[in-house]
């Protein structure tokens, strides 16, 4: 038994299972719900298997079809990939349970295949060892995600989906051009080989510019975030959760990978770092202020995502000197945000389902009828604000520590301001849990599984506040941040 776990190529299962599941869902629409749930559960188990294997043997590498790079395709997973895969599995599973209750049959037959394709694309992306493969997963991911947004129907959703589609295609196109340049210049698309071969040259700079611009657009970092709020706010709640929690993280993950392995060693001028830090800071402030100004709950949460993405970019200027802590902070912030933001969107979905609207000013009656949902929103809010104990706090602590060690007071101020603004917009919503609203007695129409899915995700975000040591040691498998320095 144990040899099966340690020998089996779990990475293949992670890609093929959801792909196959999605296709079967098409073929057998009446059983789509249960098929989808089983598939997602099997994917979660496979991630567990992969984790076990990697704890035993270290980095996972699989040459698909027996052809290794540079001829064939390599699947590759280190601690960072594993972390992203595990987050995807966990968040994906909770959202699936939620979706099983959320969608009616006629929507379910469209939701499940698309979601499973999206899952396959995400898993493949996190396992990709070469930049062309990443492009393929981007296209699959983009198409599935756009269709999921359009699932809600109506003018807002279709408009949002259209903008999203254009942004996603433009981003992919820019990225693909960069890939072509690199391939032309160095004759490989394998990331590991590229990192050995690249040297400073105009081709590399052009590729960096194109790929960077494409990835920044897909990650929706300020000022390229224009497509995110309408898409995330108008999609059905579980889709918003998937997009905000996982999909934007996927393009960020690729950006981080390319940066660490290919581009960072080449860059000597500080301009690029400064630029990335600057847009991060702007995103934190702009997103938070916009979130505070919103009158609709889902838009508020969507702008909060814009702000939280900004934090991830603050690490670039900081990582020059103390890479490992800065990148650990980024990884931690990313997964904590994934858990917390998914919980928030699911909670918002419950409120909309119960009250029929998401106007913040009229939410009090609804919030007070759904205490579990209110608790989920509050706990997720704790992590978003970066208050202890939560994953958000751990990430922020590490980031602040690095910033202070380097005397980057500008970034310290941005982080603290971001936290204060986050508190302001979270409590803007939570304040309505404590009004003297008339408590109506209409029957409760939100299924328990929807409330609990949100609450458990939020609890996981809080629990992350106590798991920093094991999680960070897991991330260190294969030394993804490429730094031999020892963490203090």
């Amino acid at each position: 038994m144990e040899t099966v776990v340690t020998e089996f190529s779990w990475g293949i299962a992670l890609i093929l299972l959801p792909l196959a599941g999605g296709m079967i869902c098409f073929l057998w629409p009446r059983r789509t719900q249960i098929l989808g749930l089983v598939t997602v559960f099997a994917v979660a188990l496979s991630v567990g298997g992969l984790a076990w294997q990697m704890l035993d043997k270290g980095v996972y590498r699989h040459a698909v079809g027996g052809w290794g790079a540079p001829l064939g395709i390599d699947l590759y997973a280190d601690g960072l990939s594993l972390l992203m895969l595990a987050t995807t599995a966990l968040v994906g599973f909770a959202i699936s349970v939620y979706s099983a209750a959320y969608f009616k049959q006629e929507d379910a037959i469209r939701f499940w295949p698309l979601w499973l394709f999206l899952l396959a694309a995400l898993n493949a992306l996190f396992l990709s060892g070469d930049i062309f493969n990443v492009y393929v997963t981007f296209e699959l991911m983009g198409l599935a995600a756009v269709s999921l947004v359009a699932l809600a129907g109506g003018r807002d959703a279709l408009g949002g989906a259209m903008r999203y589609l254009l942004a996603a295609l433009l981003g992919s196109l820019a990225y693909l051009l960069g890939v072509a340049l690199l391939y032309h210049g160095f004759g490989t698309v394998d990331i590991a080989l590229l990192s050995e071969r690249v040297e400073p040259s105009p081709v590399v700079w052009a590729a960096l510019g194109l790929m960077g611009a494409g990835l920044l657009l897909k990650t929706a970092v300020f000022p390229l975030h224009f497509w995110l709020p309408p898409a995330h706010a108008s999609a059905p709640a579980p889709v918003s959760a998937l997009l905000s929690a996982l999909v934007v993280k996927a393009s960020f993950y690729i950006l981080l990978r390319l940066w660490l392995e290919v581009f960072e060693p080449l860059i000597s001028s500080e301009g690029v770092y400064t630029l990335l830090g600057l847009i991060g800071a702007m995103a934190v402030l702009w997103g938070s202020i916009q979130a505070l100004r919103q009158t609709r709950l889902k838009l508020l949460i969507a702008y909060s995502t814009v702000a939280q993405i900004g934090y991830l970019f603050l690490a670039f200027p900081l990582a020059v000197a103390v890479g490992s802590t800065a990148w650990s902070a980024v990884a931690y912030l990313a997964i904590s945000h994934a858990l917390a933001k998914a919980a928030m969107f699911l909670a918002a979905g419950n409120l909309v389902r119960f009250g029929g609207h998401d106007r913040i000013a009229d939410l009090d009656r609804v919030v007070q009828r759904l205490p579990l949902t209110a608790a989920a929103f509050a706990l997720a809010g704790v992590s978003i604000m970066g208050l202890p104990p939560s994953g958000g706090f751990i990430g922020k602590w590490l980031m602040l520590e690095v910033a202070l060690t380097q005397g980057r007071w500008d970034l310290v101020v941005v982080m603290l301001l971001g936290g204060l603004l986050a508190a302001a917009y979270v409590f803007k919503v939570l304040g309505y849990a404590f009004t003297q609203a008339e408590v109506a007695h209409e029957p409760k129409t939100v299924p328990a599984s929807m409330e609990w899915a949100a609450l458990l995700l939020a609890l996981a975000a809080v629990l992350m506040g106590f798991l920093a040591v094991p999680v960070l040691s897991l991330v260190d498998i294969g030394d993804p941040f490429g730094l031999s320095e020892v963490r203090p």
Binding site: P371, M385, V412, L416, L420, F466
Partner: protein
């Protein structure tokens, strides 16, 4: 891990678990909720008793959990921690009884008692924290757990008070976070150590350390209601009486004051702080707060607001005692953690009784109330005289030690502050007592509820009587080793001024 290391954690769980269960209870499960509440509070007191005995005999209670690479979550019960824990455990028990009586038939009781328990959990956590990051964790938890209690009534005034409270405390929390991380980036440790852990850092960081001191004191000063961070406290008095009682006597305000004690003694160390030159400004700030709070209290007609400004003034005695930086003044400051708690909780209980029984909210409505509610007003009188500093009540002991300590440390100006403050205390408490005992009632009470032959419900009457007797006893028996004063001396000997 031995049994002894689990005790601090158990202490925290003894209020956390009942709290979490209470959240899940339906509104009408009154009996089960009361059982859980009292059970949690009793277990808490029992555990504290056990640990007091242990610490007195030199047992070491410590629990460590990994939190971050290189940083641990530390729960440790030393003599100072237990001093504060004992205060919260005992007063939590009494306040729970009071709250059960007070909130009879009001809505959202499960929510209330759930957050009430969380609030105590956070306070006990603050007390037991063995390093600054653990302290920060529970301190922020306290902020979050208290907010729902302040806005509990849900009125516009309550929600405004809640917003003000959050604005102050979250901002204070951010300052605290900044100070803590900065300190960690300089020292690589945050462990509370007697005489502090910064001596070895050398001269080149003096400026940074001074700023960190200011950040930390400002962060704690927000909750301790030091001027100019006091604005939230008078507003927060719109909360239900048991909440204000606990807020002013134990939970929030005291957590801030306790934080100041920790920073001065266990992070910076008295000698190092004095060397940095940061203690004198702190002493002045505390003195200004003492006088300012009393001055404002003079002009409040609303009883709870008057008491709130009185809290602002009284809590700063703790900061003052700490900042004078002599062993005797330290004892005076630390012992005031308990003394002020006992006296102020009595006063707030009594104010709650007046409001709940007769509908009295203002001082001007209190004429002749001593005849209608003699027991309540007797307790109030004890508390008020204690605040003024009349012997033999607890407040006298504090002022005595602060005064002697200041002379001892060569800071004679403090005597003036103490005398001025006592005069002002008398000026705003004596008129209340005069009205209550010596004036004729003017017609009907604003909103009277009838309790038959008793003056009010026994669950409302018993707690203030008990705390008043305690305030009297700890003053009378101050020289016994088991009194708060005796324990404060033990703390000063063991933790602050070791040879």
């Amino acid at each position: 891990m031995s049994w002894n290391s689990w005790l601090p954690l158990l202490l925290i769980l003894s209020s956390l678990i009942p709290g979490l269960i209470i959240f899940a209870l339906a509104e009408e499960r009154v009996r089960l909720r009361i059982t859980l509440n009292l059970l949690g509070a009793l277990v808490n007191v029992g555990l504290v008793g056990l640990m007091l005995w242990g610490v007195y005999n030199g047992v070491h209670y410590e629990m460590r959990l990994p939190l971050l690479p290189g940083i641990e979550l530390v729960l440790r019960a030393g003599s100072l921690s237990l001093f504060f824990v004992t205060l919260s455990a005992v007063l939590w028990l009494i306040t729970t009884v009071y709250a059960i009586g007070y909130l009879e038939d009001s809505p959202n009781r499960s929510r209330f008692f759930g957050f009430f328990s969380l609030c105590v959990t956070a306070t006990v956590g603050v007390a037991l924290s063995g390093n600054l990051i653990t302290f920060l964790l529970f301190y922020e938890l306290l902020t979050l757990a208290t907010y729902p209690l302040i806005v509990h009534r849900g009125t516009e005034a309550a929600r405004r008070a809640g917003r003000t409270y959050l604005a102050y405390t979250i901002f204070g929390g951010a300052l605290l976070l900044l100070g803590t991380v900065w300190l960690y980036s300089l020292t690589g440790t945050l462990e509370f150590t007697s005489q502090g852990f910064l001596d070895a850092l050398g001269g080149e960081h003096r400026l940074s350390l001074t700023i960190i001191f200011v950040l930390l004191i400002a962060g704690f000063g927000v909750k301790a209601a030091l001027v100019p961070f006091h604005g939230w406290l008078p507003q927060a008095m719109v909360a239900p009486a048991p909440v204000t009682a606990l807020l002013h006597a134990v939970a929030v305000v005291k957590a801030g004051a306790f934080g100041i004690v920790r920073v001065v003694y266990d992070v910076f160390g008295v000698e190092f702080s004095a060397d940095l030159g940061v203690l004198e400004p702190l002493a002045w700030l505390a003195a200004i707060t003492i006088i300012y709070g009393s001055m404002r209290a003079l002009f409040q007609d609303n009883l709870k607001r008057r008491l709130a400004f009185s809290t602002i003034s009284q809590v700063s005695y703790i900061a003052l005692g700490v900042a004078i930086a002599g062993p005797i003044a330290t004892i005076g400051g630390v012992v005031h953690l308990v003394h002020q708690g006992l006296m102020k909780i009595t006063l707030f209980f009594c104010a709650g009784n007046l409001a709940e029984t007769l509908g009295i909210h203002k001082v001007s409505e209190m004429n002749g109330v001593g005849r209608r509610m003699p027991w309540t007003m007797a307790a109030f009188t004890v508390g008020a005289f204690g605040m003024i500093g009349a012997p033999p009540i607890a407040g006298f002991v504090t002022k005595w030690y602060l005064g002697i300590g200041a002379m001892d440390a060569g800071q004679d100006w403090v005597i003036l502050v103490l005398a001025g403050s006592s005069l002002l205390n008398a000026a705003y408490f004596l008129p209340i007592l005069h009205r209550a005992w010596f004036r004729e009632p003017v017609g009907d009470w604003p909103e009277e509820r009838n309790f038959g032959r008793k003056e009010t419900a026994w669950m409302l009457l018993l707690p203030p009587l008990l705390t008043a007797v305690m305030a009297l006893t700890v003053g009378l028996l101050a020289l016994l080793p088991v009194s708060p004063l005796g324990w404060a001396k033990l703390i000063a000997e063991r933790e602050f001024y070791q040879p």
